[in-house]
């Protein structure tokens, strides 16, 4: 084996990325449609952080086995169960979400009975309904922040590159957000406070990919003024391929540890982030760049003489 491994990656590749763009467009459209249908019909599977639920204060004559209790809650079908030690080791706070359609009081009673059956020495000291942890303000301010961030990133890319680049990047990142939320919705992953990190990470990683992609494209556009845009995009992607592979693998390895050994509590977040990294890489190549191809670029930055536009001007 030759070390370092980078030598195994061929120096020059000639994949025709753009050729697959129409296929990718159809593929993405189907996924987006599916995501939207799922998001509009069943929505996100909001957890107790967003919806509120029931909170019980329990006491036991011995230290409360928190982990066991959490596991039991899962088994008995109490949704999104949370267990926290509460004051003394002998007492704990149990929170869970009643199943949809179930009456809160009845749901609570069912869980209480099941708990007492499983732990006969457990007594329930108090019961109350708890509100959502996440206020409406957090959601609206979050969406506002998201919109502002996308707009400002658009402005920066416009300033550094061209408007078409900025639009391509924002559309592609938006595509990634919709698909990530769609995945959460379709897989019925419990959307909790922690889960908010997933779309944020996806935006960060995906935007990074887009900017790196554009940088190479911009450089090549300057270098090869007469080459059709389609070919320049393919060339830029091929030149960038080894970097994409190495960086993507690194990111996936970093998350892989937690995905496989992180346990059931952390799995949903890491799974979604992993999906987002793959989708973010995909959308740079197959959404952002083809969009630029469709919209065309202004290639007479530096020269006054008009240049014949490349493939972009042809249907």
């Amino acid at each position: 084996m030759r070390w370092p491994l980078i030598r195994y990656i061929p120096r020059a590749t000639h994949y025709r990325f753009v050729r697959w763009a129409p296929v990718a467009a159809v593929f993405s459209l189907i996924l987006i449609l599916g995501s939207c249908v799922s998001l509009f019909t069943q929505g996100l599977n909001l957890g107790i952080d967003f919806k509120g639920g029931v909170s019980l204060e329990i006491v036991m004559p011995r230290p409360v086995p928190l982990a066991e209790l959490r596991h039991e809650l899962d088994v008995m079908g109490a949704h999104d169960g949370q267990v926290q030690g509460f004051g003394s080791p002998n007492s704990a706070m149990v929170k869970f979400l009643p199943v949809k359609g179930e009456n809160v009081g009845e749901a609570s009673k069912k869980v209480e009975q099941a708990l007492i059956k499983k732990f006969p020495d457990l007594t329930i000291k108090s019961r109350s309904e708890v509100g959502a942890k996440v206020s409406g303000e957090l959601l609206t301010s979050g969406f506002k922040a998201l919109g502002m961030a996308l707009l400002l990133m658009l402005a920066y890319i416009w300033f550094r590159f061209q408007l078409q680049f900025g639009l391509g990047a924002v559309v592609a990142v938006f595509h990634d957000i919709v698909l990530t939320l769609g995945l959460l919705s379709v897989m019925r992953i419990e959307f909790s406070m922690t889960e908010i990190a997933a779309p944020l990470t996806v935006i960060g990683y995906s935007m990074n990919e887009k900017v790196i992609t554009f940088d190479r494209l911009k450089e090549n556009l300057r270098k090869y003024k007469k080459t059709p845009l389609r070919d320049i995009i393919d060339l830029s992607e091929n030149e960038r391929l080894s970097r994409t592979i190495i960086t993507g693998t690194t990111a996936l390895l970093a998350l892989g540890g937690t995905m496989f050994f992180g346990g059931p509590v952390l799995f949903p977040l890491v799974f979604t982030m992993t999906f987002g990294i793959i989708i973010g890489t995909y959308s740079s190549i197959y959404i952002a760049l083809p969009l630029i191809l469709v919209w065309g670029v202004n290639r007479n930055d530096d020269e006054a003489t008009p240049q014949k536009l490349g493939a972009a001007s042809r249907p």
Binding site: W3, P4, I6, G52, S55, A67, Q84, F86, G87, E129, V130, G131, A132, K133, V134, S135, E137, L138, A149, L152, M153, Y156, I157, M193, T194, I196, A197, A198, L200, T201, I203, G204, Y205, M207, N208, V211, I212, D215, R216, E239, R240, S242, R243, I246, T247, T249, T250, A251, L253, A254, G257, T258, F260, G262, G263, V265, L266, L269, M273, I277
Partner: protein, 532 residues
């Protein structure tokens, strides 16, 4: 770019020392830390509620106080409404939650009743519609005004919602503490804050209602009247916190209130004493300007939570809608008051019901599994980058390690709260940091393949990759700053980690790698790049 300039080596050494010194407290046992001299940094990473638990406070919204306040306001509303329509009345008062008033002319009773039905109280939320007060005619030309049954519930619910938003704003403006604030039952609010964050400090910030009003001092009331308790209707006596008098007689109607503030900062007055600045919105500024214009030479009282902080004399009309509040402040209490004013008043007082410690929300087992798995992920990342790029991969790994140290160091120093979503932000940061190195190395390979000498290839690689790295990181920083500015709670925490990471990553991936590679060129004098 590969020249080993003195400032580069200095910056690298400094950052490494910084990273180690500020990260170390996280690795040492508490006993060793306590034994160290005072100037050594001892702050540990401030883990969030999800990772380490913290303190728990249960508050009850004082709905009785809310009720009393609404009744008092309602009496004033009745007075104003009848006066404006020039309907003579008497015996206006409130007893046991019922406001009663006697209309002087028997012919005007019906008119007065319909006027009051139209104009006082608040619209009732919900499907029923109408207003939340009912007006009934009693014999002897009396009208009785009471709140409808639903009003109490609606008021309490609204007060709890508002209190939660206000508390969140207050705690958020103390830094990224990421508390959990939820409604419990109908009129309780549960607050959990991570770690050893001082519950007393938290209580100070949460427990104050911070209701600010500006009311005119009733100059007609002499000190003798005040002492004798001869107070005209529409005027009230409030205790004073300034050093001149024990209490003031002020008009009950506020000229402007804290609801109309747009900002407040801790500042100093012309004598250098701590003070609090304030600025009103357009409407508030107009009201304040009008009132000061009409009352030049008189005094107005600045009242916080029913106590007069100070009562300055109006020397001229103040149309600008801003000014400073002076009083018996220390810099700390002035800063606290400005924080409270910025975040808005609580609609009702809060009463502490319960206070305890709680364990991690995610559970100790999940936290343990998470830490181990993150370590595995990080190790895999290091091994992979070394396998991929050999010696240069090793340099990247060193840079990455220093990056981690610096991030943990800065997070410990700033005492920002690290939650699990924050760790996700950290992973993203590390991936992007590695990306910077990958970009540099790939450029070097391109240049070497194009036939440049190793030195020239390395140098050009850095130069060309730097453009992409800066573009990508500036974009990240833009989104992080926006999320920090507009987001709240976990979004803010995530954005903070990301912003720190952008700076440390560019520094470590570019400068530290440069120094390492420059040094290697000097020592090894290579004929060929190890990655070409």
């Amino acid at each position: 770019m590969l020249t080993l300039s003195r400032w580069k080596i200095f910056a690298v050494t400094l950052s490494v020392i910084f990273g180690i010194v500020f990260t170390l407290p996280n690795l040492l046992p508490q006993k060793t830390l306590d034994a160290l001299p005072g100037w050594v940094p001892k702050q540990k990473l401030n883990l969030g509620l999800d990772l380490q638990g913290g303190s728990y406070l249960l508050y009850e919204v004082d709905t009785d106080a809310l009720r009393r306040e609404r009744l008092t306001n309602l009496v004033e509303d009745v007075r104003t409404a009848l006066r404006n329509e020039q309907i003579a009345f008497g015996e206006l008062g409130e007893a046991n939650g019922v406001i009663s008033v006697r209309i002087a002319e028997s012919g005007k009773v019906t008119e007065a009743a319909s006027l009051l039905r139209r104009s006082i109280g608040a619209p009732l939320a919900g499907a029923i519609g109408g207003r939340d007060v009912s007006v009934a005619s009693r014999d002897n030309q009396r009208l009785e005004i009471t709140f409808v049954a639903e009003a109490a519930k609606a008021d309490a619910a609204k007060a709890v919602e508002q209190s939660i938003e206000t508390i969140r704003r207050r705690i958020d403006s103390m830094g990224t503490k990421e508390p959990t604030i939820t409604r419990q039952g109908t009129n309780r609010i549960m607050i959990q804050a991570a770690g050893e964050s001082d519950p007393e400090k938290l209580k100070n910030v949460i427990g104050k209602t911070a209701k600010l009003t500006f009311q005119m001092v009733d100059e007609a009331v002499t000190p003798e009247d005040l002492a004798a308790g001869r107070i005209p209707p529409g005027t009230e006596v409030l205790p004073s916190e300034d050093r001149y008098v024990a209490s003031y007689a002020v008009r009950k109607r506020a000229i402007v209130s804290g609801d109309e503030l747009t900002g407040s900062q801790q500042t100093f007055d012309q004598n250098g004493a701590p003070a609090v600045s304030f600025a009103f919105n357009g409407q508030g500024a107009r009201k304040f300007g009008d009132a000061t214009g009409r009352n030049v030479g008189k005094r107005f009282a600045i009242i916080l939570d029913g106590k007069v902080i100070s009562a300055p004399r109006i020397n001229q009309a103040l149309p600008g809608g801003s000014g400073i509040i002076t009083g018996n402040f220390t810099p700390e209490s002035a800063a606290e008051l400005s924080l409270l004013l910025r975040s808005g008043a609580l609609p009702a007082p809060l009463i502490v019901e319960d206070q305890r410690t709680v364990t991690a929300e995610l559970g100790a087992d999940a936290v343990r599994a998470g830490s181990i798995s993150l370590a595995i992920g990080a190790a895999a990342m290091f091994v992979f980058i070394i396998l991929a790029y050999g010696l240069f991969g090793g340099f990247a790994a060193i840079a990455l390690f220093i990056n981690v140290l610096m991030i943990i160091g800065i997070m410990s120093m700033t005492q920002a709260t690290l939650t699990f979503p924050g760790i996700a932000g950290l992973i993203l940061t590390l991936a992007v940091a590695v990306d910077a190195n990958v970009l540099i190395y790939e450029r070097m390979r391109d240049e070497a393949n194009a036939g440049r000498t190793p030195m020239a290839a390395a140098d050009t690689g850095f130069r060309l990759a730097l453009v992409s790295i800066l573009d990508a990181n500036i974009t990240s920083l833009i989104s992080a700053l926006i999320m920090f500015g507009f987001g709240s709670g976990p979004v803010k925490g995530f954005a903070w980690t990301l912003s720190i990471g952008v700076f440390t990553s560019v520094f470590t991936a570019v400068i530290i790698t440069q120094v390492l590679i420059g040094w290697w060129f000097k020592v090894a004098k290579p004929k060929k790049l190890p990655i070409a």
